[in-house]
C-alpha cells in the first residue's frame, strides 16, 4: 500500500516536471550541445557541411590567428575594464544611497520608486534616450555649457570621442545597475541589529566610524552578491554596446560579447560561426571560475 502511494507520488512528480523538462531538452540541451559541437568546427551558416578543426577555433581566438587574436585580446581588455568599472561604480553609488535612504522616513518609498525606474525600463528605449543626450548637440553638452563648464563638453559627442566612449558606457551601465544594488543594500541594512550600532555609539564611535567598522563589514556578503551580479552582466551583456556604439568609434568599445555576436551574425559569409561559439564557451568558463572564486572569498570571510 505504502509503496503504491509512493509510486503514484513519483509518477505525479515526473508528470509535473515533464513540460519544463521537455522544453529544457529542446531549448537547453540541444542548443548547448549544438553550440559546443560547433565550437570545434568551421562553418559559414550556409554550406551543408562543417569542417572539423578540433580545438583550432580556441587557439585561433587566443593567439594563433593574426587578425582575430589581436581583436579578441583588445576586446578582452575592454571587457575587463567594464567588469571592474561597473561593479565598482555601482557599489560606490549604491551603498551610500541605501544608507541615506535607510536613515530617512519622509518620502522614502517615493525615492525608492524613482531610483528603481532605470532597472525596470532597461532596454533599447533608454539606450536611445542616452544616445540622444550624449550627442554633440545633446543635452549633456548643453548642461555643461549652461553650468559654465563648457570646457568639459565633448564637441564630437561623448560616444564619438574614442577616449570618452567606453567610460561613458560604463557610467550608463552603472546607472542601470545601481537600483538593484541599492535595494539589496537596503534589505541588508534593515536586517542589522540596531543594538550593535547603539553599542558602538556608547563606545564613542562616530557616524563615519560606525559605518566603516560595523555596517560595511556586516554587509560584505551583499557587496559580494552585487559584484557577482554585475561582473556576470558586464561580461555577458552586449546589448548596450550593440545599440549605442556598435563597437565604435574605430573599435574602441568592442567587447567580447559583441565580438561573439558579430562573428555569428555579421560574418558576411565567412566561416566564423564556430569561432563565435568557441568565444562564447571561453566566456562561460571564465564566468564559472569567477563565480567559484567569489564564493570562496565570501565563505572565507564569514
Amino acid at each position: 500500500m505504502a509503496a503504491r502511494v509512493r509510486g503514484r507520488e513519483a509518477l505525479t512528480g515526473y508528470i509535473f516536471v515533464l513540460p519544463a523538462l521537455a522544453l529544457f531538452a529542446v531549448m537547453g540541451v540541444y542548443t548547448v550541445g549544438y553550440g559546443l559541437l560547433l565550437s570545434f568546427a568551421r562553418w559559414n551558416g550556409f554550406s551543408p557541411k562543417w569542417t572539423w578543426v578540433g580545438i583550432g577555433n580556441y587557439l585561433d581566438l587566443l593567439y594563433n590567428d593574426p587578425t582575430i587574436a589581436p581583436l579578441v585580446q583588445g576586446a578582452a581588455l575592454r571587457t575587463l575594464v567594464v567588469m571592474i568599472g561597473v561593479p565598482l561604480l555601482t557599489v560606490v553609488i549604491g551603498f551610500p544611497l541605501a544608507v541615506a535612504l535607510n536613515r530617512i522616513t519622509w518620502l522614502r518609498s517615493a525615492f525608492r520608486t524613482v531610483y528603481f525606474l532605470p532597472h525596470v525600463t532597461a532596454g533599447i528605449a533608454l539606450f536611445y534616450a542616452w544616445t540622444y543626450a550624449l550627442q554633440p548637440e545633446g543635452s549633456i553638452n548643453f548642461i555643461l555649457h549652461s553650468l559654465g563648464l563648457g570646457s568639459l563638453a565633448q564637441p564630437q559627442g561623448w560616444l564619438g570621442n574614442p577616449a570618452t566612449a567606453l567610460p561613458t558606457l560604463i557610467v550608463v551601465m552603472s546607472w542601470s545597475a545601481v537600483p538593484v544594488a541599492m535595494v539589496l543594500y537596503l534589505t541588508g541594512l534593515q536586517s542589522i541589529d540596531q543594538s550593535l550600532i547603539d553599542a558602538a555609539r556608547v563606545d564613542g564611535a562616530g557616524g563615519l566610524r560606525t559605518m566603516t567598522s560595523i555596517i560595511w563589514p556586516l554587509l560584505l556578503p551583499i557587496t559580494g552578491a552585487v559584484i557577482m551580479l554585475n561582473v556576470r552582466d558586464a561580461m555577458q551583456g552586449f546589448q548596450i554596446f550593440l545599440l549605442m556604439t556598435n563597437g565604435g568609434p574605430g573599435g574602441h568599445t568592442l567587447v567580447l560579447g559583441l565580438e561573439s555576436y558579430n562573428l555569428a551574425f555579421v560574418n558576411a559569409g565567412r566561416p566564423t560561426l564556430g569561432l563565435s561559439s568557441a568565444l562564447g564557451w571561453i566566456m562561460f568558463v571564465v564566468a564559472l571560475l569567477l563565480a567559484w572564486v567569489n564564493l570562496r572569498v565570501l565563505r572565507s570571510r564569514t
Binding site: 550627442q135 555577458q236 563565480a291
Partner: protein, 270 residues
C-alpha cells in the same frame, strides 16, 4: 539637522539623475521637428503632442504594441504554468532524481546568452519556427527557468505541511492540492515571477532581432530600432516611440513594485 539636509540634497540629486533620460524622452517627444535640431535645451518652446500622435498612428504602433502584448502575454502565462508545476514537484513531491533535476535547471544560470543565441536560431530553422512568435516565446520561457524554478520551489517549500495533510485527509488528489492550496497561498511569488518575466520580455531586443524578419510581426523594440535605422531618423519621433514603450512598464512597476523588490531579495537569498 545639517546632516539631514545634506542627506536629502543627495537623495534629490540622485532622483534627478535617475529620472534624467525619462525627462529627456518627454522633452524630445514634445519638441517639433525644427526645434529638436537646435541644441539640448530641456523646455520645448512650442510644446506639441502631434509627434506622439503621429508616431502612434503613422508608424503602425498599434500593431507593434499588439505584437509585444502577444509575445509578453504568452511567455508570462507559459512560464507560470510550466514552472509552477515543476516547482511544486521539486518542493513537495518525492521522486528519484528530484535534486539532480533541480540542480540541472539552476546550472543554466551560468550559460551566457550569446553562446546559445546562434544554436537557438538554427533550432528555430530546423523546427520551422524561424520568424514566428512561438519561435521566440519558447526560448524566452526556457530562459527564465533557473530563476522561476528557484523562487517558486522556495515559495512552495515554505507552505506548512499540515495544509497538505489536511487536504489529503479530505481526499484531494495531487492536482487539487496544487491548484486549490499551494497556488493561492503562493500568489505573491507567482506575481513576482510574472513581473520578472513580463518586463524583460517586453524590453527584449537581441533574440527578437535575429529571429523576426517580417516587419508585420515586429515587437516594439524592433519597431523602435527600425525607426532609428531609417534614412532620416528624427530624434523627436524616436523619443516619442521610446516613451510609448516605457510608459506601460512604469505603470506596471508603480502599481506592483513590492513584488519586484521581493523577487530581487528572494533571488539573491536563493
Amino acid at each position: 539637522m545639517k546632516a539631514r539636509v545634506v542627506m536629502y540634497a543627495m537623495l534629490v540629486a540622485y532622483a534627478l539623475i535617475s529620472l534624467y533620460p525619462f525627462l529627456l524622452m518627454v522633452s524630445g517627444a514634445l519638441k517639433d521637428s525644427k526645434e529638436i535640431l537646435l541644441d539640448g535645451h530641456f523646455i520645448p518652446s512650442n510644446p506639441t503632442l502631434s509627434t506622439l500622435v503621429s508616431t502612434w498612428s503613422d508608424l503602425h504602433f498599434f500593431t507593434y504594441f499588439g505584437n509585444s502584448l502577444i509575445v509578453t502575454g504568452f511567455t508570462t502565462v507559459g512560464v507560470l504554468v510550466v514552472y509552477a508545476l515543476a516547482g511544486y514537484a521539486f518542493a513537495v513531491l518525492r521522486f528519484p532524481g528530484n535534486r539532480l533535476l533541480y540542480g540541472m535547471f539552476l546550472s543554466l544560470l551560468f550559460v551566457p546568452g550569446v553562446t546559445v543565441l546562434l544554436p537557438v536560431v538554427i533550432l528555430q530553422q530546423n523546427l520551422g519556427l524561424i520568424g514566428t512568435f512561438p519561435g521566440i516565446i519558447l526560448p524566452f520561457i526556457n530562459g527564465t527557468a533557473p530563476l522561476s524554478i528557484m523562487l517558486l520551489t522556495n515559495s512552495f517549500r515554505s507552505v506548512p505541511g499540515e495544509l497538505k495533510e489536511s487536504a489529503r485527509c479530505d481526499g484531494a488528489g495531487e492536482l487539487r492540492t496544487f491548484w486549490s492550496i499551494y497556488l493561492p497561498v503562493s500568489r505573491p511569488a507567482l506575481i513576482t515571477i510574472a513581473l520578472l518575466t513580463a518586463v524583460p520580455t517586453w524590453n527584449e531586443y537581441v533574440l527578437t532581432r535575429v529571429s523576426l524578419n517580417d516587419a508585420a510581426l515586429y515587437t516594439l523594440p524592433l519597431a523602435l530600432q527600425n525607426l532609428n535605422s531609417s534614412t532620416a531618423p528624427q530624434e523627436n519621433v524616436l523619443m516619442a516611440a521610446s516613451l510609448i514603450i516605457v510608459i506601460p512598464v512604469i505603470i506596471l512597476f508603480v502599481a506592483l513594485q513590492r513584488y519586484f523588490v521581493n523577487g530581487l531579495q528572494g533571488a539573491v537569498k536563493g
